[in-house]
Symmetry: C2
Subunit: 248 residues, 2 copies
DNA sequence: TGGCTTCTGTAAGCTGGCTCACAGACCCCG
DNA sequence: CGGGGTCTGTGAGCCAGCTTACAGAAGCCA
């Protein structure tokens, strides 16, 4: 019962609450645990709560009736999610699932709305959060509309590196379990296409691909590719006379 | 100079301002006029103002370096736009242009931020606005990823009818000048594809197409198409023995 | 009122990415 | 430690929508 507060305080949004505010949230918040792949909420469920990720990683996604999946976002520790429940109690329109074992703080929307009323600067922060995510989605839309699968893949890797990467000099580990299918769902292509393009990028020495794990091995060059500084090369001839260079 | 206030009051967001609030806005707001196709702001410009459309129609769009265009939204009279300037003074990332001759109320972001601080319920309304538009974009993304050009066109027509339509029973005029290119930019296909599909829909008696003008002539059936109640038919055989039925 | 520009209509041919179909690698759990 | 899921790799064939290329219609303005 006091765990909630402890987690809350670690989230930038909820620094410096007054004692009453902290107390109310502490009384009303819940901490929940989810195993990898467990469902946290689903699209038809009315949004009555907003969540903060205390520990783990969350995948926000959507699935069509015929089983095709889009991933809208991955949530990092300390981030808010399910925040559109603040707009109204309508259906969530998306799934949230634990990408790894996770611990989640659940806040009733009324309490957060109440808090926003009493703390305008917090309300503004949340507005900004929603707006920034909107910009991100708008960008995704642009990418889907205008870029080839290769370019989209490069950009999503850059984006993931930015928000979920651990940087060492010119290399960067993406701290998310990422299957080819996940990447495909992020950029709107098939798994097979991702497999091929990842293979090419690896051959070019830009990234290292392991099972459900991607490491950017040349951040600089990848960024240049993504920004159109380097032309995004067409795939190399598929059957060169010599063996393609191996890279471990 | 007192025009500003008059326009403001007609916008739901700004009802019931206190005299001081009204006064401050009135002093700081500007009214600007734009001719059809005039540019209101552009992507690289830092966002220092938020706007309310007093009269006319605004097109929010984006263009790639090689000239391909997406339309993100059309703005109706009384609606807010350029609202992401509230997040930060970063680049706007989009164009706003007058779709017809328009009159726009320009509010410095600081004043609106100040107003949001002093009126939590207005801050919340703006948050909702941003959030609702985010949902709309998320939907667009889903559509682009998962639907055929035909289905996307049907859905965008339904959406436009909802937000910009004038309804008479089972028919509905879309009160926007809409070229085939515009529709193409809304759903992410080429103009030629739109021309063909519009032709089919017209032949099926669902819509009526005139120059830069679309009328839904059978709202009910169109809605059923869009919701997957009716199967979204493949195009009819292109060269039937008999002439295709003419409809005026 | 005539010329220019924008918008619409049509069609032939091409192609990036999808579908389908396996095969082998890896991993977790019993 | 073995067997069934899950993930990755590859390739042949297909197809929706793009590209390219015109042509006529409709509005605009000089």
């Amino acid at each position: 019962m006091e765990g909630a507060l402890w987690y809350l305080k670690r989230c930038d949004l909820f620094e410096r609450l007054t004692p009453e505010q902290a107390d109310r949230l502490n009384r009303r918040a819940l901490v929940r645990q989810y195993k990898r792949n467990a469902l946290i909420y689903s699209p038809t469920e009315p949004g009555q709560t907003v969540m903060v990720l205390a520990e783990g990683r969350i995948k926000i996604k959507d699935i069509t009736p015929d089983g095709k999946e889009t991933i809208l976002a991955f949530i990092e520790e300390g981030e808010l999610f399910g925040e559109l429940a603040l707009l109204d109690e309508g259906a969530r329109q998306e799934y949230a699932e634990a990408a790894v074992d996770s611990r989640v703080l659940v806040l009733p929307r009324e309490d957060l709305l109440w808090l926003m009323e009493s703390r305008p600067e917090l309300a503004l922060s949340i507005t900004k959060l929603i707006g920034l995510r909107r910009r991100r989605i708008e960008n995704r839309l642009r990418n889907v509309l205008f870029l080839s699968s290769r370019e989209r893949l490069v950009r999503i890797l850059l984006e993931l590196q930015e928000s979920h990467g651990e940087r060492y000099c010119n290399r960067c580990e993406i701290r998310l379990p990422l299957s080819h299918q996940d990447l495909a769902s992020l950029i709107g292509v098939t798994r097979e296409t991702v497999t091929v393009v990842l293979g090419e990028l690896q051959r070019d020495g830009l990234i290292r691909v392991q099972r459900r794990r991607v490491t950017v091995t040349d951040c600089r060059r990848l960024a240049e590719l993504g920004n159109g500084i380097l032309p995004v090369r067409a795939p190399p001839p598929r059957h060169p006379t010599a063996r393609p260079p191996r890279r471990l």
